[in-house]
Symmetry: C2
């Protein structure tokens, strides 16, 4: 079982928005656009095991207010695979180049999950003036690090699942043992991840988003190479623009492990650091919302983002 | 004993060329310019424990043919210190931003030592069309990695010296025990590095270049974080422009350790990979030249670079 850019016929499906490409020099980024170019630019960054079309339902709603650019990051969707080079810094710099030379004007950026961490990265490390404001949608700040400054590490949250996926699917789907993975999940996964895994792997074979995902991403998070030279505490202390952080379902189990993207103390500490760096932070808690608000409730996501952006513009 | 941007009065000295700054968004890069803007642009990248003014003698010679930009990298000279963030990818992307938004046109890049590795990085990973051609001046390709694809690792070359410096001087000169370092060198260093260390540490206190150097650089190389997500073999296979590689003094000792920047088999393999990627490589061996040709023999360095660039332009 093999998927990815080398197997386009069995991997990809058509979408409502036309897809284009941007050459960063190292990778070819695939992206989709919606909305009129007279509107302010909005950059949408998917989460791990998501591609740009995770935003497909939200895009028409957002396109009433923005020209919307939704990207596949390196290792996602139709964008280039880059073995050994999946780091926040490299993914972030892909987006810096795309905003500067592909979009050509300042943007509001919004990312889900790891994409939310990249939204934080952009708000800290992009070119001066490039990022007008940033949305962190349920971002695993600290919780996706191996040695976080605060709270649960990736091993105490979702990491075991990434490790399992990478083991049976392999970097760039080089192993592709889907059935072996499904069979191993109940006894190889830490018990707190078994229900989530059952929900994600319940279908008949890999779901579309997993086909478009390079399982090496999972290894980069599990082993910590993705953020080895990008400490979240330091990154958040360098943020330079207003931030909207949404915080969805989370629960701490009896052993102190985290179910969800980040815990309350992690969200609170992230907020404190960004505020200390001199920026306004709007924190919104949605404790009954699943991980992807833009997927589960595109109307609420669009309304939340647009209301915040409108208030910012008026301030 | 403390040095660096927080102690400018005791750290820096005046230079012949005016210094300017460029804000990447994360760091403020210090650089100097020489030559007329009607000439082609040349970007000069210093080596480890060197600042832009290591090129001071070569710059007037090169400025007859180029508009020359010599930079301090992050952690060098007057540029920003970035604890935990010294990687080839981050340093390389600083230069991508500087070339795009500070210089504003394509360049030939030339770097010494680690700067030569960064010149290789730029020739592989910069924006399309940004790098016209690249000079690798005695670059420790493979030999500055912890797990190289070929030949001696950094532990089998100069790494022990970086470890010693970092131990006694500390990240950002936070320890600053120069005398302790000098006293420890003869018994803490691997024997093959003792003569080199004596030559480098012979003066009365830290030399000017060491004052301007963040010893965390040394730790990043010794521990491998600098290239953890930038395998040299993969990087060289991605090069996209003509290359001039100069190869200076090197010797293999009786235990197989490398004295010099890279061994003959490492240089040969680098050349093979760049050629296989479809690029012309000019290899020039200078077996009696010290590590920095631009410092030791600026005339020969300028002549070598200009002759090669002229031949390229004519081809």
């Amino acid at each position: 079982m093999r998927f990815g850019p080398d197997y386009p016929d069995t991997t990809y499906v058509p979408h409502a928005h036309p897809e284009r490409t941007f050459d960063t020099g190292e990778v070819v980024l695939n992206y989709a656009v919606a909305g009129d170019e007279s509107l302010p630019a909005l950059l949408l960054v998917p989460g791990q095991f998501e591609s740009w079309w995770g935003y497909e339902k939200a895009m028409p709603l957002l396109a009433e207010h923005f020209q919307v650019f939704a990207v596949d990051l390196r290792g996602q969707g139709r964008s280039t695979r880059t073995p050994g080079r999946y780091t926040l810094d490299n993914m972030g710099n892909d987006l810096v180049r795309f905003v500067a030379h592909g979009i050509g004007r300042p943007v509001i950026c919004s990312g889900l999950s790891s994409g939310g961490v990249l939204s934080a990265w952009l708000s800290a490390y992009a070119l001066p003036g490039q990022i007008r404001a940033a949305v962190y949608e349920d971002p695993p700040l600290f919780a996706s690090e191996t040695t976080p400054a605060i709270g649960q590490s990736i091993k105490q949250s979702i990491g075991g699942m990434f490790a399992l996926w990478n083991k049976y699917l392999g970097d760039q789907w080089s192993i592709g043992d889907w059935d072996g993975m499904v069979a191993a999940a109940p006894h190889e996964l830490p018990p707190h991840l078994v229900p989530l895994s059952k929900a994600l792997l319940s279908g008949d074979g890999p779901p579309q988003n997993m086909k478009e995902y390079d399982p090496e991403w999972g290894r980069a998070f599990w082993t910590g190479t993705v953020a080895a030279s990008c400490d979240h505490e330091r990154m958040l202390s360098s943020v330079k623009c207003p931030v909207l952080m949404t915080h969805h379902f989370r629960m701490i189990d009896a052993q102190g492990r985290l179910l969800g993207a980040l815990s309350d103390i992690q969200a609170e500490y992230a907020r404190t650091l960004v505020e200390k760096a001199g920026n306004a932070v709007t924190y919104q808690s949605f404790p009954r919302m699943g991980h992807s608000m833009h997927g589960q409730d595109p109307e609420l996501f669009a309304k939340t983002l647009v209301d915040w952006a409108t208030a910012l513009a008026a301030a």
